[in-house]
Symmetry: C2
Subunit: 126 residues, 2 copies
Amino acid sequence: MEFLNKIKFNTQGIVPAIVQEEKTGKVLMLGWMNKEAIEKTILTKKVHFWSRSRKKMWLKGETSGHYQLVREIYIDCDEDTLLLKVEQIKAACHKGYKSCFFRKVNSEGKLEVVEKKVFEPEEVYK
Amino acid sequence: MEFLNKIKFNTQGIVPAIVQEEKTGKVLMLGWMNKEAIEKTILTKKVHFWSRSRKKMWLKGETSGHYQLVREIYIDCDEDTLLLKVEQIKAACHKGYKSCFFRKVNSEGKLEVVEKKVFEPEEVYK
């Protein structure tokens, strides 16, 4: 995987990865990946991230079954950010929404929920 | 701007901001913003970033004229990432492409340019 050597990981050995739904163009979330997570993602075709809080690699959807099946991987001009186009099973957000960006800043500078829940977190994360 | 108090800036006082073209859904780039850059973006309607290398705020398009006119701002569930939907003047990438993600990983694990240049950098950045 020649491109792996081009990636400029930060001092913690990770890069941000934007996840976009291929079908709709919807931006679903931003995660962080180390080299191992990228390799595992390519090998399994399921998106893996590096958890900065738990300091370990994790498979997105391992608890919920809401996997992200990777279709295409892009890299930016600075080679320090990835863009993953995926097929999202059910929903990306652990709060029950399709996208993690389910809140918009309104004209008063307040946050407003602009998506409908597609699952109930209490039923999925037991 | 009530939502500014909700943002969880990192230890350097910045958050990643994904920039997406509103019209097409194309992901254009990822930048970093501090509180001041967000305020200035809202005030002027033109996207401002924090430059981590130059350690100063900058107006995207200040040299090229390729401004990003902000239309909507979203925040993610963890409140540590922003999504900006914008109208992109000409192109986002300083290398002459519409998007900074102009290269895709191909089936051999190599990078392949998948966009056409829309301007010549040497003519714009003199």
